[in-house]
Subunit: 174 residues, 2 copies
Amino acid sequence: MKRITFLLVAVVALAGVVAYMTPASGQAGQEAAPIFVTEIPPGYRDWRLISVAHEEGDLNDLRAILGNDIAIKAYREGQLPFPDGTIIARLAWSYDPSEENNKVFGRPQSFVAGPPKNGVQFMVKDSRKYASTGGWGFAHFDDGTPADEAVLNTCFPCHAAIKARDLVFTRYAP
Amino acid sequence: MKRITFLLVAVVALAGVVAYMTPASGQAGQEAAPIFVTEIPPGYRDWRLISVAHEEGDLNDLRAILGNDIAIKAYREGQLPFPDGTIIARLAWSYDPSEENNKVFGRPQSFVAGPPKNGVQFMVKDSRKYASTGGWGFAHFDDGTPADEAVLNTCFPCHAAIKARDLVFTRYAP
């Protein structure tokens, strides 16, 4: 009985290792196949602020970029490339004119964050796991649901343009 | 000797109490004279995000509103009025088009936070100390220097319009 238990544990453990090493796409052995982040990093809404932005056009949002402790430390110390464990979160909200604020200001000038919009995105640094996409795992969630691979395949080609800052668009706002 | 020491301690203690009760303007006894916050709350850049906004016009900035732990808890729990100890910080940066981002997007649409702009502002809740201005002490700092009273006197009249949310313009962005 003890022997069977041991074997079972060994088999389960091995399966776990194999699962970890297998790209999400299931193409084991093809290291170039990108793998993505499928779990929302816990507690990200409590992370510290990196910067803010406004995107016009189809996106038309106000956004905040937050970082976990490793990200904030790297930004403040100018550490490049970002170390493994860095996670950068992009939150976004509807770009809404504020009638309430404008009334007080006496002119139309104020735009505030409305309801969440355009999902939540993450970049997770793991230079080994995500080696095929510059060491970054990309993620996009709409109401908690991860985007499919077709969407996530569009992340890396654009981020790859920002070589000088380790594929990260956002600069730290002091 | 003991008696003199005791008297000295008593006088100093009393002076402290009087100093604490005296409005910053020096107009002791006139409770209606507003008093302001003259020290930058330490560590505010590490506080959590409440929301983001864009102001056009003369301000022309991108801004983030951060809160200390008491503020964040009150926002998330819908606690109104905000409890004593609440501090809300307003940071702002130049509203800068990002040529770098636009090049990658293939169209002009991206505005990011440039250098700090329009100072840093705070609202500090102390219902007793700042009773004459709705329980809020107002502060504005340019490069660490507090604004003069003429500037700070303009805060309360506008904030007073937002009675339903305890004089706070910014809503929490989920």
